[in-house]
Symmetry: C2
Subunit: 138 residues, 2 copies
Amino acid sequence: MCASFRRTARALTSFYEEALRPTGLRATQLTILQALSRAGEVSQGRLGGILAMDSTSLTRTLAILRRRGWVAERRGKDLRERLLRLSRGGAAKLKRTTPVWDGVQARLSAKLGERGWKNLLRLTNQVTDLVADKGGAL
Amino acid sequence: MCASFRRTARALTSFYEEALRPTGLRATQLTILQALSRAGEVSQGRLGGILAMDSTSLTRTLAILRRRGWVAERRGKDLRERLLRLSRGGAAKLKRTTPVWDGVQARLSAKLGERGWKNLLRLTNQVTDLVADKGGAL
DNA sequence: CCTAGGTGGATGTATATACATCTATCGTGG
DNA sequence: CCACGATAGATGTATATACATCCACCTAGG
């Protein structure tokens, strides 16, 4: 099951990234911008929870996104925390990229069918919840 | 969809690797040994096709597996090709690891149900086939 | 106030993965 | 046989990702 999911994730990533290439955003980076757009200002740890990802893994990816000016961070009352949010430039980038992303999804959705698409999203989220303790749907 | 699959793949990988840790095999490495066990002697490019993975990405992972003595390679008639196969040590390692792997899968299968499990495998393979040109079910 | 244990991230290290590019080799038309 | 375009991997570079460990900071008990 793990191998099947990893394999499909590779295939899907390749499919999405081919379309996203002209935008200069990697699939993972777009995902983070989308998550921040929905979540508002969140700590790095909380973002890791949302993405079912080790929060320390985010340190490097976020460094890239900050360098490019798409993500801003500040200290909260708890000085250990990094509160992350989409910067103005990040919001603009996300807005410009969304049509491309919609296009890929539409092409895939056409192959899977509306019902298959929704079913698959539901199932993958269910599996994530089953094996990850912390949750918070993407 | 890409983000959902990547997210679930991360969660599943973490779930499997926690169980596999005592064996010293990473999930990806186990997958390659299993693939070689089923496929017999194959070229690197063919293995990449089976795993829906860029064949040049395999160069590094295979180097690790060869260093550990689990995978053997030889030149074929076509001197550009690397023909890969499970070494004797690799077969032994795979055999020792399989019970652990079975255990994880059983635990997950118990949560998903036999029917849900098979359904999910079928769907993921279907998606892979839809977005990847080359195939060959895992 | 002060200390002890806990928590949020940063950093070191290892693996996973892709793509562009390079090299060796292959097969074919001349 | 030979030059040329095609193919299999190797290599350079960048990102994605995890875990162990470290440091700073927090919180609660004394």
